[in-house]
Structure formats: C-alpha cells, structure tokens
Subunit: 229 residues, 2 copies
DNA sequence: CGGATCTTTGAGCAGAATCAAGACCTGTGG
DNA sequence: CCACAGGTCTTGATTCTGCTCAAAGATCCG
C-alpha cells in the first residue's frame, strides 16, 4: 500500500506535496518498515535522520528521568507522526519503543533537504504540523497538572478513543498496548492509582476492561468525569 | 535600536534571513511597539496575524479554563518569541497579556508570505524554533506532573534565572512581574502553597524575596531541591 | 488616607503515594 | 498438557502532601 493512498496521517499529506514536484525516487526517501514488539525506533540524543509515520501498531515515547527510571511522555497510534521535533536541534529529544508489532513509514528528511527541490510546500506542511503539536501541548499537557486522578484517566481514555475513531477504526473498542505503569508514568500517577480508578470506572459502568482491551460503555459519562470530579 | 542588532532572540535571527533577500520595507513587516501594563497582545481564538518578539518587559499566556477562571500556560521574557504556533491553524490558541510596561517587535507574517519571496530561509528558521518549542514542552511541562510543590517552584525559579542570565542580564536578581496566583496557576498549585514554599525557601537561605524582586542565594541548593525532595 | 487586591499564616481535611500482600496473566520447559 | 517462574495487576492499610476554608497582614492605587 502506497503511503499517499492511506490518507490517514499528516505525513502522507506531506508526501503528496513533496513527491510530484521533487521527482525523487520514493524508494529512497520513503520506505516501509516493520517493527517487532519492544523494538526501538530511535534513542534519546541520537542524531536526527528520519520522521516516522505509524501505519499499524502503537509506540511510546520516553525521556530519561534523572535518578529514577524512564518517564513516558507520549503514545503514538496509527496515523501519528513521530520525530518531527528532532528537526530543530538535529537530535531526538526522547526515545521511542514499539508497544506491539507494527509498521511505520520512514521519511529520510536529511536526504530530502539535500535533494534541494520542492521543499517549499513540505516545509509549509511541517510548520503546520509543528504548530499543531505545540498548540496541542499547550492545551493538553498543561491541563493535566490541575486534574485529579479520575479526570486524568477519563480524559486519557477519551483522547485515545477520539484519535482511533477519527482515523477510521471503530472507536468503542480500544486495544491498550501499554502497561499500567506506562499509563501511570504518562499521567503522573502511581500504578496502584491507575488500577484503582480503572476498576472503579468499570464498577460504575463507564468502561469494560478485559486484559488489554478496553470497551467504552458510556462516552457521555466519561466526559462528565473528565470535566468535573 | 534595530531588531537585528540586539542579537538576543531567535526572531532577530529570522529577520536577518528574511530582510536581505526579500527587500521588503522593514517599516511594514517589522515594527516596534510599546505596551502598557495589563495590555493584551492578542486574545484566544483571534485571527493569526503577527509573531512578537519581547524586547523588554514580561508577558503571560493564558487559556480559558472551562468552568473556572483563566489558566496561565507560560511566561515570556525579553528575547522570547510569542505566537509562532498560531501559524498552524491561523488562530492564536491562547491570550497574551503584559505583566508590566514593555515593548515588542511585531513581525507581520501574513504580509510577509504574501510578498512571496525568500520565505525559504524564514520557514527553515521557523521550523527550528517550533521544534525547539516542542522539545522544551516535552521535557519541561511533562516533568511538572511528577514533581511536588518544592520541586516545581525550585525548577521554576531556576528556569527563570537561567533564561535571564542566558540573555545577558545578571542572573542573580530576578524581577517577578507575575503575581503569586499567576505562578500558582502556571505550576498547578494553590496560591497559598506557593506562598508557603517561597517563605520556607527564604528561611532555608535558598532565596531572598522582597516584594517583586527575588534574589538567588544558593543556586546549588535550589538545584538539589528541584532534583529530589 | 482608605478601599481593594494581593499575600501570608493557621487549622483541618481529602486525595493520592507508599508500603505490603495476594491474585492474575504469560511464557517456558518438562 | 501441565506446572512453574517471572512479571504485571489488583486490593488493602497507612502516611503525607497539598487543597480548602478562614482570617489577619501587606501592598498598591486612586
């Protein structure tokens, strides 16, 4: 499947801009790559080379926490872009690891800019994506600080569901590739708290949870929790 | 003082790229503007028009919090850029208000892109700046969640001191233009907690605090607090 | 000077972390 | 196919950080 046929992610839209004008062989700048569970796309501090678009599977981003273990700073689902912010200082600012087997499209940015043509539209698209990312962080991460455990988890589940449903997959049933510890680290909670809140949500009939599969039972209920509890 | 003489902020570096090649009258695209205390640069949702570089004074960014009052999501000091992420969706995602009297340089991006020439280097610079912003948010905001009140305030003070010292101003004495409530909102704490922690820091000899002026007494001590307490 | 706002300080309480077991999955090898 | 070992997940009891409510003290500004 060609990347520009999927129409899912911003990456493919960039390629629609880049490919026709540049006339570069797609085999070099853009390649499909499959990843095994636990495999790392790149490590923190590594030299920036490529931007990745998730085609299938899921990934987590981590930064090294000083004294402690690593901290999860984001999750990536099919359609998400990985690594754009590495363009700034030529180094990735976090590590990315696959939560399950999957595949990505790899765009070799370095070689693309070396080719020197038709980067105008590509750059415009990159600016848009980066701006969106900044805006997202302003609204999303900043709001995490003020929220309690219930709100954080409800918002987290809703965000996941929204992302998958926007991308075409059925939004009611979610596959959680990450562990409770990952969720806890990302949300700034303790493992035990995540567990407790999820089971309570289940008892309240908001979600159903079996192993790694989460089913949304009450979209509205979760939104109410996320807004005020 | 011409903007590209100050050499302080990323904005001026962009203008060095843009001005020579584009040959546009600098009076139109770039203008100096003074702001009064409390004045708003732009409001949330407003149509994106310009990017601002802080020349003097300080500013705060706010987003409307649903039921409650506004939430502070950032502070800007001389040398900082304001509003870049508005380029993404053509609307500003937050409001910006002056904490004290000051001045900014205004770059009318819309008109610059309309002029249609030499945007290549400018865009490249914008990508760099946006990437830097994303990386900053990943490392900074994400870390706020896991930290306790002491750590948040120590890190906040250190970040302010680092920013002002990097920009040339003496780093030991800081002018805090923002109120305790602003700091509390930004750090996700209660006003009272900010007050308590600051006075404790003072008793411990880490800082000295009089009115709006904060003096760093023990840089190392603060770093120790920020790392683990 | 006086009113309004902001800041400090105190007391009590609630939410979440921590500590500590126990239950459950998962993959492995017999 | 089953049993076992490792990890992950749940659940309980306790502790502690930081919020809330309340009131007094500063500071600012007309």
């Amino acid at each position: 499947m060609a990347c520009r046929e999927c129409g899912l992610d911003p990456m493919c839209q960039v390629l629609e801009y880049a490919e026709p004008g540049s006339g570069v062989p797609s085999g070099i700048l853009l390649r499909r790559q499959s990843v095994k569970k636990g495999e790392m796309l790149f490590g923190v501090g590594q030299l920036f080379k490529s931007v990745y678009a998730v085609k299938s599977g899921s990934f987590k981003a981590m930064v090294p926490d000083l004294n402690r273990q690593e901290r999860v700073v984001g999750f990536y689902l099919p359609g998400d872009l990985i690594g754009i912010e590495g363009m700034a200082n030529q180094h990735y600012s976090y590590s990315v690891r696959a939560l399950e087997a999957g595949s990505v499209c790899v765009l070799d940015i370095g070689r693309l800019t070396e080719s020197g043509r038709s980067t105008e539209a590509l750059q415009r698209a990159l600016i848009d994506m980066l701006g969106r990312e900044v805006a997202l962080y302003h609204s999303q991460t900043a709001s995490l600080i003020r929220q309690n455990a219930d709100q954080r988890l409800a918002a987290f589940i809703l965000a996941l569901a929204l992302r998958t449903s926007l991308r075409g997959l059925g939004g009611d049933r979610l596959y959680l590739g990450m562990s409770r510890s990952d969720m806890a680290s990302y949300l700034g909670l303790a493992r035990e708290t995540v567990s407790r809140v999820l089971t309570r949500f289940q008892k309240e009939g908001l979600i159903q949870l079996r192993n790694q599969t989460l089913t949304l039972l009450s979209w509205d209920g979760l939104q109410q929790v996320a807004a005020s509890r």
